[in-house]
């Protein structure tokens, strides 16, 4: 019946501050029967850790479980159901910290990607049926919040030349070929690529391309 409550629903929250977000998450937890939530931003420059946007986890548990496992769990389904991609050790580690019934909900807000981990101490507490609705409501909340804070992804971080070079590399061209296409020397093309990698915080080209595609730059 809690799911029904979520289906008829309270008014959609106008989330414009972090405080609103936390209140909103509290409401979501009540509606789906979760004790804890963890919202992580997955649109980080890879190589860095996923960033926690909001959470009511005990700090020790975050430390103990590790943000990488949290981010992984948040991407993959429900731990009490088949199909999730955590190892039994990982499930056990979560359970030891009181996260027995765990549902990962991927959330998108425009190009930004988040993952929400909802968990309960008792198996079978969470209402899977409500998950799709939660996904949309979180997407609204995060869209509103990012609109207010104006943090668009690093859309203009790259110069036109850097972007051009990257997009040709993403088409499988070599540095030399990119040089020919753009009418510059191979070493000039290379320096565009190097500076693009630096700006994107990427340690190599594959990561630079992936980051650029993920944030809609190319």
């Amino acid at each position: 019946m809690v799911a029904a409550a979520l289906a008829v629903s309270q008014p959609i929250a106008v989330v414009s501050t972090r405080r609103d977000l936390i209140e909103f998450m509290r409401q979501i937890c009540r509606d789906v029967g979760a004790d804890r939530y963890m919202l992580v931003d997955l649109t980080v420059r890879t190589g860095e850790q996923a960033r926690i946007v909001a959470s009511n986890w005990i700090f020790d548990a975050i430390d103990m479980i590790g943000i990488d496992l949290i981010a992984k769990a948040a991407r993959f389904g429900r731990t009490t159901e088949p199909g999730h991609q955590l190892s039994s050790e990982e499930v056990e580690l979560l359970a030891q910290q009181g996260h027995v019934d765990v549902v990962g909900v991927p959330v998108r807000a425009g190009r930004a990607r988040y993952a929400l981990l909802l968990s309960a101490e008792k198996a079978g507490s969470l209402l899977s049926r409500a998950v799709a609705k939660v996904e949309l409501l979180c997407s609204y909340a995060l869209s509103l919040l990012s609109g207010k804070q104006g943090f668009e992804t690093q859309v203009d971080a790259l110069s036109d030349r850097e972007r051009e070079c990257l997009s040709w590399v993403a088409e499988g061209k070599t540095t030399e070929e990119v040089g020919v296409i753009l009418g510059v020397s191979g070493s000039t093309a290379n320096s565009y690529l190097t500076s693009a990698m630096q700006k994107l915080g990427a340690r190599n080209r594959a990561l630079a391309i992936a980051t650029a595609i993920r944030s809609g730059l190319i």
């Binding site: 629903s9 106008v14 425009g110 949309l136 995060l142 609109g147 668009e152 990561l207 809609g216």
Partner: protein, 218 residues
């Protein structure tokens, strides 16, 4: 039920008389491509107007946010209906319709779109709008999957091949991937070249870019 029927019913449910569903290109041009409308299989007037009239600001909104946007002529009955929804945003009119709604849509890993609904008798509240939006997201997802299937579908990659690609897109070298997955470097490289072949890519960079764009990895 066919997607077209469901969209029609969705529109009617909100009091709209016309709709146009379009994809938005994931690169910087954000090219708008209408894929279905109320006159399907013909093209409705609304679709021509959508194609000609949608502002870059609207396209930016639809690819950066999930928040529903609306417009209505001054003193139109829809104004008060929409103003009651505190979380939606007002936008400029698309085409000649006196009132309308724009739902940002997303699917797969980096596909975006929008559903434009127009009419004169909008009847919406938080819950009906969110429910319709949820349904629109599902339909958009189904439609894109259907389209991908019709165009031959995405290449089928094995779990290992996808894992290797995913780690490459995270900036890992073959050595690191091998260590991470408990493989020999040779095997890791073999998975990557199989993946490259299956994706019809010329090299690894190209394969990573294609896999991201197909939504095979994220």
């Amino acid at each position: 039920m066919p997607v077209y029927r469901e969209l029609l019913e969705l529109a009617e449910g909100l009091g709209a008389s016309d709709f146009c569903l379009a994809t938005i290109g994931s690169d910087r041009q954000r090219k708008l491509t209408p894929i279905m409308d109320a006159a399907f299989p013909d093209a409705a007037v609304l679709t021509q107007q959508v194609a000609a009239d949608v502002s870059p600001a609207m396209l930016r909104h639809a690819s950066n946010s999930t928040i529903v946007a609306w417009w209505a002529a001054p003193r139109h009955s829809a104004v008060s209906a929409f103003e009651r929804l505190r979380w939606v945003v007002r936008t400029v009119a698309i085409g000649s319709a006196r009132a309308g709604l724009v739902m940002p849509l997303y699917a797969g890993r980096c596909e975006h779109g929008m559903l434009v609904l127009t009419g004169t008798d909008f009847a919406v509240c938080d819950d009906t709008l969110a429910a319709a939006h949820l349904q629109a997201l599902e339909l958009f997802d189904r439609l894109l999957k259907l389209r991908a299937e019709m165009s031959g579908g995405n290449p089928k990659l094995s779990r290992r091949e996808l894992e290797c690609l995913r780690l490459t897109a995270e900036g890992q070298t073959s050595d690191e991937i091998a260590t991470n997955l408990g493989l020999s470097v040779h095997t890791a490289n073999q998975y990557l070249s199989n993946a490259t072949q299956k994706l019809d890519a010329v090299n690894r960079m190209h394969a990573v870019a294609k896999a991201l764009r197909f939504g095979l990895i994220d």
